[in-house]
């Protein structure tokens, strides 16, 4: 019995010992594996002359989902904003009082929290506020819609206080009374809010409009006096707000202009047909070189460019499930587009990439990059590809 146990243990241990003695795999025998040989190749659009093409174009995209309101003017841009406040929290007693004309508006003040400056960074800034008479919504309202917006020419703002972080101004009490009445009595014409526009070319300012706890969003503070001479202080936050930016995008033949606010997007295309269809992309890196003289940015912005895979460049349709980001490093914006190149190699239609500013709804930054036709090839967009290929299939 003891002999059997000893034999069993010795055999088991010997098996384990022998297998564990193996060396790590080495290159011995690699010369015999020609049928399976793979290799790596590195190419780039500068040294290997991959054909490329770029262009940019203006787009009309609503800014209603932006987290900022833009107001101001530069020599080439103008930003205006529309705000409507929410009065659903108005107490029933006050609703009755306003309907019975038993409520007096003692004061009405709007506070806007400043988060962004573009152009002049001084505190000098002026604007006017106007009652809006026509309907608007945050969905689909663009610069094209602005011409049909009806508003009173008279300025309903006064007592402006402008600091680096906060702008406050008084609003015409009668206008606020109309809004409260419209909330209390549905027969009364509805409230369409106010229209804010700059009155001087002193740069563009951005104000917080969206926050998780509603902090720092535009607020209307109203003081009312009831028939019993009781005073009540009411706060109303905005229910709808949006900005519209108008102006002109510079016409540059050898550059790519990607702009926020007054939105300009770009298309960039590379010919990768020279890569073998069986190739596997290990890395594809796109680098754009910034034209710093033409680029203009504000005080707080997203310093990156987004890239989308064009599924239909004619209708500017991209695969929204897979986008990439080019991040800034000095005067270059660089990012990985491996899956884009792999998809083109694999036979998906190569209609190029769509480029847009990552914060294109939040400000009016203008990123200008040297384009595909720039005479200095070293400044053209550069695509660097590392790929694996099988020597024989």
């Amino acid at each position: 019995m003891f002999r059997n146990k000893l034999l069993f243990l010795a055999s088991a241990l010997t098996s384990l010992l022998l297998v564990s003695c193996s060396d790590d795999p080495s290159s011995i025998g690699a010369d015999l594996l020609n049928p399976d040989k793979v290799d790596i190749k590195e190419i780039n659009s500068f040294d290997d002359s991959l054909s490329q093409f770029s262009k940019y174009f203006k787009r009309t995209i609503p800014l209603g989902s932006s987290s900022r309101l833009l107001i101001g003017k530069t020599d080439s841009l103008e930003a205006v904003s529309l705000i409507r406040f929410r009065f659903v929290s108005l107490a029933e007693s006050l609703r009755t009082a306003i309907k019975n004309n038993n409520l007096t508006i003692a004061s009405a003040t709007i506070e806007l929290t400043q988060k962004y400056k573009f152009g002049s960074t001084s505190n000098s800034f002026d604007f006017s506020a106007h009652k809006i008479n026509s309907n608007w919504t945050t969905v689909g309202f663009t610069a094209d819609s602005l011409s049909s917006l009806n508003y009173d020419p008279s300025d309903v703002s006064s007592n402006k206080s402008i600091t680096d972080t906060l702008i406050t101004f008084s609003l015409d009490n009668q206008l606020v009374r109309e809004w409260l009445l419209a909330e209390a009595d549905t027969v009364i014409p509805i409230d369409h809010g106010i229209y804010l526009k700059s009155t001087s070319i002193l740069g563009i300012r951005g104000f917080q409009v969206a926050a998780s706890n509603n902090a720092e969003v535009p607020i209307l503070k109203v003081t009312v006096i009831t028939a019993n001479s009781d005073t009540a202080k009411l706060n109303f936050i905005s229910i709808a707000d949006l900005s519209v930016v108008t102006g002109a995008i510079p016409n540059l033949s050898n550059q790519i202009v990607v702009q926020s606010g007054l939105i300009s997007n770009a298309k960039l295309w590379y010919d990768v047909a020279s890569l073998p269809a069986s190739a596997l992309i290990n890395s594809a890196t796109l680098t754009l070189t910034l034209d710093t003289l033409m680029t203009k940015t504000g005080t707080s912005f997203n310093n990156s460019i987004r890239l989308g895979f064009f599924t239909d460049s004619t209708n500017l349709a991209i695969d929204s499930a897979r986008t990439f980001t080019l991040t800034r490093d000095g005067n270059n914006f660089t990012g990985n587009i491996t899956s884009f190149v792999q998809r083109w190699i694999n036979g998906e239609s190569n209609q190029g990439m769509l480029l847009w500013a990552a914060g294109q709804l939040e400000g009016v930054e203008r990123f200008v990059f040297f384009g595909s036709s720039n005479s200095d090839r070293s400044k053209q967009p550069k695509l660097t590809i590392t790929y694996t290929y099988k020597k024989s299939l």
């Binding site: 059997n4 069993f8 055999s11 088991a12 098996s15 384990l16 022998l18 297998v19 564990s20 003695c21 193996s22 060396d23 790590d24 795999p25 080495s26 290159s27 011995i28 025998g29 690699a30 010369d31 015999l32 594996l33 049928p35 399976d36 040989k37 793979v38 790596i40 590195e42 069986s278 596997l280 992309i281 290990n282 890395s283 990985n336 491996t338 899956s339 792999q342 694999n346 590392t386 694996t388 099988k390 299939l393």
Partner: protein
């Protein structure tokens, strides 16, 4: 735990600890050919076509099952240790694997009718090669080449002994397999994604092995020393194997089939010839020859320039001090030795790869019909010249041969 259970567990250990040997020669054709699977055959030169004793099951010649008197199970596992060398380097690789099993039982001892079935490897592909290099950016990448799998055979067959002593046997064979050839590139930098090409072949098809063993011819020699003399022959025929193929490329951003299809794989027939001679009942000598024309191998109609006809000759010697009941443990121990020369099917870049083997082993008795067989074999093949490989291989084989009386008709 009973001793038999322990042994069975031991045989299955390779499933748990299997590593991979690195033999790039197995990239060609269907890999290394497994002639037999038992530890006994491993000690006797790996063939033994004319074996005609019911103490073990062999798979080379189904006619040998005519002597089965007990229900038998043969099961084995093996360990391969390979010192692999090229002109500048040498490494050691180990690989443990399940050897296969065969199960047989007598149907009619009087007529030599035995039946057997089993699952055994027919070929083996096993290599793993790594190369490292640098990109122009000085980032390191490792290229992995890995091959694994092989062709297996399930067989079921029977034997019959004719009145004048000639035994014949035949099997129906079903061949199936999975060959995987991987080519991978991995990076140490996370900026580059790893890539892989995987080529897979799944052959399947049928075949048959037909064998015969002569009657005892010892009387022709009129020698008292020669107590048994037999000639044996068998031939294995394989139909064209229908092979599903696929080539897949993949990375973390892609999984794509480059190509797939169904093609024919032609594996040539194999002829085995041998003779066994028993001397004074205690000594057994066998000499064998096997031939397989691998020059006829083709895949999708294309022959391989790296394959040639394979020839193998072997000789084995077995000594058993006593077969009598009541003998001591040591008297019942079986001692074996063998050697072989093989002109393998590999012919790489015009250089043929030949193999020389020598081995030995013993069978430990575990009752009257059971044995634990252990063999060790050293073989060498190849050369370090012409960018080829030299292999020095140690093969340890552990087999369990179990015989019991089953299917006994009860007297009324």
């Amino acid at each position: 735990m009973k001793f038999k259970t322990k042994i069975t567990f031991l045989i299955f250990i390779p499933f748990l600890i299997a590593a991979q040997s690195s033999t790039s020669y197995t990239r060609f054709g269907i890999g290394d050919i497994e002639y037999t699977f038992t530890a006994r055959a491993g000690a006797l030169g790996n063939l033994n076509t004319a074996y005609n004793d019911g103490a073990h099951l062999t798979i080379l010649n189904p006619a040998s099952w005519n002597k089965i008197t007990r229900t038998r199970l043969e099961i084995s596992s093996k360990y391969d240790g390979v010192f692999l060398s090229n002109a500048s380097n040498s490494k050691y690789f180990g690989n443990a694997e399940f050897g296969g099993f065969a199960f047989g039982f007598p149907v009619s001892e009087l007529n030599g009718i035995g039946a057997a079935m089993g699952l055994v490897p027919y070929s083996n592909i096993s290599y793993h090669v790594k190369e490292s290099a640098l990109l122009s950016t000085n980032e390191e990448y490792i290229t992995n080449y890995e091959g694994k799998g092989g062709l297996s055979k399930f067989f079921i067959g029977t034997s019959y002994r004719m009145p004048f002593g000639l035994s014949i046997g035949a099997t129906f064979d079903y061949y199936f397999g999975n060959f995987e050839y991987l080519s991978q590139i991995n990076f140490t930098s996370s900026n580059l994604i790893s890539t892989e090409y995987k080529k897979t072949f799944n052959p399947k098809g049928i075949g048959s092995t037909i064998g015969l063993i002569s009657p005892d011819l010892s009387s022709l020699l009129k020698s008292e020393i020669i107590t048994d003399l037999r000639l044996g022959a068998s031939v294995s025929i394989i139909s064209n194997l229908t092979t599903d193929t696929s080539l897949i490329k993949s990375s973390s951003v892609l999984l794509d089939t480059i190509g797939n299809g169904v093609v024919d794989m032609k594996v040539p027939m194999r002829l085995n010839l041998g003779f066994n001679v028993a001397l004074s009942h205690n000594y057994l000598l066998n000499m064998d020859y096997a031939f397989q024309p691998w020059s006829e191998y083709s895949f999708n109609g294309i022959k391989s320039s790296n394959l040639r006809d394979a020839h193998k000759v072997s000789a084995g010697f077995e000594y058993r001090p006593s077969k009598e009941l009541g003998s001591t443990f040591w008297e019942q121990m079986v001692w074996r030795a063998g050697l072989s020369f093989e002109q393998t099917q590999y012919q790489i870049n015009g250089t043929g790869i030949n193999q020389y083997s020598v081995g030995g082993g013993f069978g430990l008795p575990m009752g009257s019909e059971n044995s634990l067989d252990i063999s060790i074999q050293y073989s060498t093949r190849g050369t370090t010249e012409s960018n080829l490989l030299k292999e020095d291989r140690i093969t340890l084989n552990l087999g369990f041969s179990l015989g019991e009386v089953w299917f006994i008709r009860q007297e009324k």
